[in-house]
Each structure stands twice: as C-alpha cells, then as structure tokens.
C-alpha cells in the first residue's frame, strides 16, 4: 500500500459491508501520541446531515471509496477523547510551526502511511504541489510538465498551535519549540496573531517565556502581557532582567503595571520600581540594578567567595564594582584582575580608581558613545552623591544605536 494524501480521501463515499452508501468522509480523528499519531476514527456525514464517528476497528480501508467492515446499523459511534486531533478541523489549512526550518507554515495537505493495518499521520505538505492537489490542478501541472516539487515536513518535526478565541492557559502536549533559542521562538511569535502568540508563550515555562519576551518588539511585549493573566505576567516579569521588565512595565497603562508589580516577589518588584523612576531615555532608564558590588576592605579570596554566593542571578559579572560603606563608587576591577591577584591581596591595592561613569540623568546616547569609546562591557551609573545606582551593559547600548523595535520588526504588510 502506498502513502495516502488526506485530500484524496476527504469527501469520498463511505460504503458499508452490504455495499450501501453511509455518507461522505468529512474528517479523520487521530490519537495525540507522538511521533506519528494513529488514525482512531473517521467522521462521516450521513445523508440525513448527521455526523457519525466510525471507529477505525470497523473500517476496512482508505481510498477512493471507504469500505466498512460492518453494516450501517452495527456502527458503534466512537467516543472522541479530549486530546485527540481532527485532521481537517484542527490541522488542514491551519498554521503549524516547522521545527527544522523554524518557520510558520500553512498546511496544504497531510500524508498518511499504512502500517500493520493502521494508518498513521506521517507528514505535512506545505508545498505548491499540495496546493495544486487541493485545487484539483495536480494533473494539469503534471501534464504541462511544470516541475512542481512537493515539500513535505515530517510530522515529528512539526509543532501545532492551538487556535481559538479564548486566550486561556491551554497546556499543549509536549512542545518541541521549547528547545529553540529564545530569539528563534520570538521570530515565530512575531508572525502569529496575538491570541496564538499568547497560547505559545503560555505553553513555555517562565524562564523561556521571559527570554522570548525580551527578544520580541516592545509593542508585541505589551500586547502579550496585557492579554495574559496578571499572575502569570508577574511570574514572567520576575524572570526578566529588571531593566527589561521596567521598560515593559513603563509601556503598560499605569493601573495594569501596578497590579502586576503588586503580584511580583517584593525584592524583584523593588528593583523594577526603582528603575521605573527614571525617564526612559536616560542612563537611569536603560540601566539594570543587578550588578556585583563589594567592599574595598575585602581580600581577593574573600571577594571571590562573596561573588560565588551572590552572583548567580546577575547578568554581567565581568566587572566587579568596589563601593564604600555609603555606597559611593570607589573603584572597579575585572574578573581577570581578581583571578590573577594573590588571594590575600586587598582589593583596594589593585582596583582601578580612574573611573568612567555616567550620571543617572545623562542622555542614553551619551552612554552608548562612552561605552563605544572606551570599549567597555558595562558602564557604572551614579547619582548626585556618586552612589552606584546601576550599570548599563553593552547589549543595552547596542539597542540604543540599533533599536530592538527595528531589529525585531517583523514584516507583515509594511516593513
């Protein structure tokens, strides 16, 4: 037996054992098991306009005619389980994620393969050939010798998207997209409708969701967070770096931002609230307040110990800032300096004191210029009293020169 296209069997007559027509095939129900779901039942529209699910055990085979093993009256209607999938209703003509190409595709046809008396869904046709077959033009294409390649994706390299009006938390059965780089997930997310995007982001764990959100455009971040349940939004924002979280909250309506801040862990929300105080286009507005600061009196050994215990959640640990008791910035050392120093040496002895800093209210473009000029990975930000308030990292400086919105703008109609 050969491979079968879904389009070859849909609308074909279903015949019972006595040779009498029962109706037309309108849908195929498959199990949700991976990697290749098995056909469990056929949905038949009978001539009196009812639909009937015939279990696969009562079906003889698939083809131009679909013969049953039993008479019309002996059909035991199949009870569709919650996770089972309707191929025509749920997959055909809908969008899927091509896991290998990391792209969104529209399904033109589906391929079924016979194995041990059962059929399994093995592939998705996303090519022009599938489109022509659906339009009934495949033979014309063959005759005119136009070379039309079929483009198939294996079913195990496909991720489905739940579509529908409700942006409810619908946990999908195992997502393959989890293993993508967040930037790749974000690319797909940007092409989805907001509702489908919400379903996708809700299917990710909080950390992956946070990383993905950071990679999408600010407008998209706002629509997703606004569409989400506030509790979930708070969980995701906790996982984001405080500066990105603050930027996002700054774009939300004030009351919504407040609700989410209230729901966040107090120490996380405090960092974010502090950052929200500064205008968006200043050093304070783009800095993060996660950085490593130690006191000048420590030895190199003690400093390494302290970093080991406190730095797990800090994004940039290449520079270690040395502060006085009143939090004023005294000096800076690099990880390299620290590793090369003798363990008992005091930090004060080898720290750099000719500091390059910016003020919290400095213009963000000046910050970017300074980072570029001095080739820094991060730049400390201080207030009027020279207290260290945060750092601006080089990736945020790049965003000033090449705004994320521009980098990530995904073309739809214009763009």
């Amino acid at each position: 037996m050969a491979l079968l296209s879904l389009s070859e069997i849909v609308k074909k007559p279903v015949i019972d054992i006595h040779g009498e027509k029962v109706g037309k095939l309108v849908d195929v129900i498959v199990s949700a098991d991976t990697p290749y779901p098995k056909v469990k039942a056929l949905t038949v529209r009978t001539f009196d306009k009812n639909t009937l699910n015939v279990p696969w055990t009562q079906v003889e085979g698939l083809g131009r005619q679909i013969p049953l093993k039993v008479g019309r009256d002996e059909i035991r209607p199949y009870d569709v389980q919650e996770h089972e999938v309707h191929l025509v209703g749920d997959i055909l003509d809908k969008q899927i994620i091509d896991v290998q190409g990391k792209k969104l595709r529209r399904v033109n046809d589906l391929q079924l393969s016979p194995t041990n008396g059962a059929y399994r869904l093995i592939g998705v046709d996303i090519g022009v050939r599938g489109l022509l077959r659906r339009l009934g033009l495949e033979k014309i294409a063959d005759r005119s010798r136009i070379r039309v390649e079929g483009t198939y994706i294996n079913w195990d390299a496909v991720d489905t998207i739940h579509s529908g009006p409700s942006a409810l938390q619908l946990k999908l059965p195992k997502h393959k997209i989890d293993k993508f780089h967040p930037a790749d997930i974000a690319d797909i997310l940007d092409q989805l409708s907001v509702n489908d995007g919400l379903n996708l982001i809700n299917a990710l764990d909080e950390e992956a969701a946070a990383d993905t959100l950071e990679e999408t455009s600010p407008e998209r971040q706002v629509s997703l967070i606004e569409g989400m349940d506030a509790e979930r939004a708070a969980d995701i924002l906790e996982e984001m770096s405080p500066d990105d979280a603050a930027d996002l909250l700054g774009d939300l309506p004030a009351d919504r931002a407040e609700v989410i801040l209230e729901l966040m862990e107090p120490d996380e929300s405090e960092d974010v609230r502090e950052l929200l105080e500064y205008p968006e286009d200043t050093a304070g507005g783009i800095m993060t307040n996660e950085f490593i600061a130690v006191h000048a009196g420590l030895t190199a050994q003690q400093a390494i110990e302290e970093i080991r215990t406190t730095a797990a959640d800090v994004e940039t640990i290449y520079y270690i800032y040395i502060i006085e008791k009143d939090e004023t910035l005294a000096g800076v050392i690099s990880i390299r300096d620290l590793l090369l120093a003798r363990p008992e040496e005091k930090l004060a002895a080898f720290m750099h004191t000719d500091l390059i800093t910016v003020h919290v209210r400095d213009d963000q473009r000046d910050v970017a210029k300074k980072i570029a000029k001095y080739n820094l990975l991060a730049l400390p930000v201080v207030d009027d009293e020279k207290r260290l308030k945060g750092i601006v990292t080089v990736d945020d400086a790049i965003d000033i020169v090449l705004p994320t919105a521009w980098k990530k703008r995904v073309p739809k109609m214009f763009g």
Partner: protein, 418 residues
C-alpha cells in the same frame, strides 16, 4: 509613539479616552478615505454633475451599511488576530480562497489602473505630463512602502486622509442651494431610468468594495489592537465611514451646485475641474484637482501592496517587503508586477479605460457578496469570535446590505448586457 502611554499622565477620564482612541485610530479612517479613490471621486462628481442633488439620499443608508461592515471587519481582526484571507481559508478550505483571491487580484488590478489614470489626469491638470508623473508616482509608492514601517506609513496616510477636507471646502466655495440639498438628503428619489440605476450601482459599488474588508482587517491585525480597546477601534470604523461619506456628499453637492445647475456636459474628472474654475472660482478647481491627485496616489500606495499581501496570506506563501525575492517570489512578483504593469498600461495612449473600469466594477460586484457572506458566517462563529459574535441587529443590517448588493450587481450586469 504609542498614545497609550499618555494615559499615565492624565487624570481626567475624558482625556484618557481620547488618548486611547488616538492609539487605535487609523485602520478605519484610512480604509474609508482610500475608499474615496480615483474611481470613487469620479463616480461622485459625475453623479453630482449629471443628476444634481437627487442622489444625495443614498448617503445615509450607505453610511450605515459601510459602518456595519467595517465594524465587523475590525471586530474580526481584533478578536481573532488574523487576516480575512486566513480566516476564510481556515473556515472553508483552500478552494474558495483561491477563487476569491484570483477575482480579488483581477479587480484590484483594475482599481490600481484607475488610480494611476487618476494620477496621470490630475498631474496633467497641473501641467505635469504623464511620462513624468507616472514613473514618479510608481517610484513614490515603492519608496514609501520599502522605506516605511507601518507606523510611519500610517502617519503619512492619516495626513493624506486629512487632505480630503479640500473637497468639503470646494463644496462650500460652490455656494450650493442648501435647502434643496437638505431636502434631497432625507427624501429618497427613486427612478427606473437606466442611467440613474447605473449611477446608483456605481455609487454603492465604489463605497463598499471587497478589498476594503481585507485591508481594514489586516490593518487592525498589524496594529495589534488589544481586545479591551475594541470599542475605540469600533469608533474608528464608524468615524471613518461617516467622514468618507461626508466627503463624498460634498463632492456631489459641489458638482450639483455648479456643473449640473449650468447644464455643462462632463465625462471625466479633467472636464469637471475645468468646468469648476469659471463657476466656483480657481481655488475650488485647484482644490478639486489636488484632492484627486492625493486620493489617487493614496490608493495607489495601498492597493498593490495589500493585494500581494492577501493573495500570499490566503495561499500560505511567504510575504513581506523585507523578505528577498528568493524567499518570497510570488509576493514580490505580484507587488512589483501590479505597479509596473498598471503604470505601463496607463501610459499607452487611447487605452480603453472606461471598459476596464466597467469590468473591474463588475468584478467588484460579483466578489462582494461572497466576501460579505463569509464575513457574516465567520462573525457568527462562536469558535472564532467567542462572546464577540454578531448581534441580531447587525446580522439584519449586514444581511440587508448583502441582498441589496447582490440585487445591484445583477442589475449592473443586466444593464451591461443590454
């Protein structure tokens, strides 16, 4: 700028609402304005010049029908986050979408021809020959789209929409008889004269066109209007429908008060502009021609791109200006093809433009009922729309619109055959 941010600074709830409206405004007003394109303005001005004030009564029902249809498109876009082509495909499969796309492509190509001819005609009124204006316009359309982002393009379009006020000024400069105009606005005048019915079909056909439903929905999807601001988007659709019909109304009034009253025979926009100068003053004539140029250019910027977009969306092909030709060959082929071909055909002397326009009107008329019926089906589908399905009143108004449109299309084809 996202005007939603402004809500942080306002205490006054009225100002907050205004800021929210500004943030979602655009799709409805732009779509409605593009509606008054070269074909539209030609039809309206001929209606005024040839029939005087008697057609003014059509504007109130047309405004209601347009507002209802546009609101449905906006609601479907906001709720589903998908374009109309995608929704129809997901609902009914690829065959119907393929048919709709082929007809839409042909019809929109006809419309684009009309826009380029509008550019050529209005530029000639200002003394710019077609061989200069057509390539320049094609280039302008290209640059605007390739260089612009949706937000910046939308701003250019909103300014272009504001320029339609020139027609309202022209209307006043023409010193119409407001008493007769008002009487004709509220009292329907029905005639079975073939010319009258043809004009009626033209008016409805140019006001409610299939491409608009695809465009308005794509525009709200692209704008990502959140569901809770749906009411502001609805306001946008309704405002747009009213504004567009007010502009159209004034075009009819201006032509009725001058050209019809003096019994001057006119057949084209150039005739009308020339006839307006001695009757309503040079300002009115210049404003009229300028408005026509603006409208043609505006619609020429939207039609080719949006057509390429829906066709690719419906067939599941790659689309988007930032993709390379290799990545999205059909999209780029269609987009460039429509612009270049339209500009070229209009450059041909003595091209049978009226027949082309008539055919594209017929195409519009055939396509529109299909599009409206499927919109109605989708807008009533609980699986797609959830709690935002159509209300019964909406179904009645939309249903009546569909029946009238079908009736008018059949009449148009019938008259054409005779």
């Amino acid at each position: 700028m996202d005007y939603r941010v402004l809500t942080r600074y306002f205490r006054n709830s009225w100002l907050i609402r205004l800021a929210l409206f500004l943030s979602v405004m655009g799709p409805g007003i732009i779509t409605s304005s593009v509606d008054n394109d070269a074909g539209g303005i030609t039809t309206y001005s001929l209606a005024g010049s040839q029939f005087g004030y008697v057609m003014l009564w059509t504007f109130i029902p047309m405004t209601i029908a347009l507002a209802v249809v546009q609101e449905m498109g906006i609601r479907m876009g906001v709720v589903s986050g998908k374009g109309l082509a995608s929704l129809i495909r997901e609902k009914t499969g690829v065959k119907l979408v393929f048919f709709i796309m082929i007809v839409l492509l042909a019809v929109n190509f006809g419309n684009t021809l009309a826009e380029f001819s509008g550019i050529s005609v209005s530029a000639s009124i200002f003394g710019v020959p077609p061989y200069v204006s057509l390539p320049l316009a094609a280039l302008f359309v290209w640059v605007l789209v390739v260089r612009g982002s949706y937000r910046s393009v939308e701003r250019v379009f909103l300014v272009a929409s504001a320029l339609y006020v020139t027609y309202i000024i022209s209307g006043f400069l023409a010193h119409p008889d407001w008493k007769i105009a008002a009487a004709n606005t509220f009292i329907p005048h029905i005639s079975l004269d073939a010319a009258y019915i043809t004009m009626l079909v033209g008016l409805v056909g140019t006001t409610i066109a299939p491409w608009m439903q695809f465009y308005i929905q794509a525009a709200v999807v692209e704008k990502e209007v959140p569901r809770k601001y749906l009411n502001y988007s609805r306001l946008d659709a309704i405002t747009g429908s009213i504004v567009t019909n007010v502009v159209a109304y004034f075009i009819v009034v201006a032509c009725a008060a001058t050209i019809f009253v003096n019994g001057i025979p006119v057949n084209t926009v150039a005739d009308i502009s020339a006839a307006l100068a001695p009757l309503a003053g040079n300002y009115a004539a210049v404003l009229f021609a300028f408005g026509f140029l603006n409208a043609s250019l505006f619609a020429a910027s939207i039609l080719p791109l949006s057509t390429a977009q829906y066709v690719c969306e419906g067939l599941g092909l790659e689309a988007g200006v930032s993709k390379t030709f290799r990545e999205a060959p059909v999209f780029h082929g269609l987009y460039a093809g429509i612009i270049v071909l339209a500009a070229l055909i209009i450059s041909i002397p003595n091209v049978p433009l009226l027949s082309i326009l008539y055919l594209s009107q017929v195409g519009n008329g055939i396509l529109l009922p299909f599009v409206l019926i499927y919109m109605l089906v989708i807008a009533n589908d609980k699986k797609i729309m959830g709690e935002y399905v159509n209300t019964r009143l909406f179904n009645y108004i939309a249903g009546a619109t569909i029946i009238i449109v079908i009736g008018l299309s059949v009449t148009l084809i019938f008259i054409g055959l005779l």
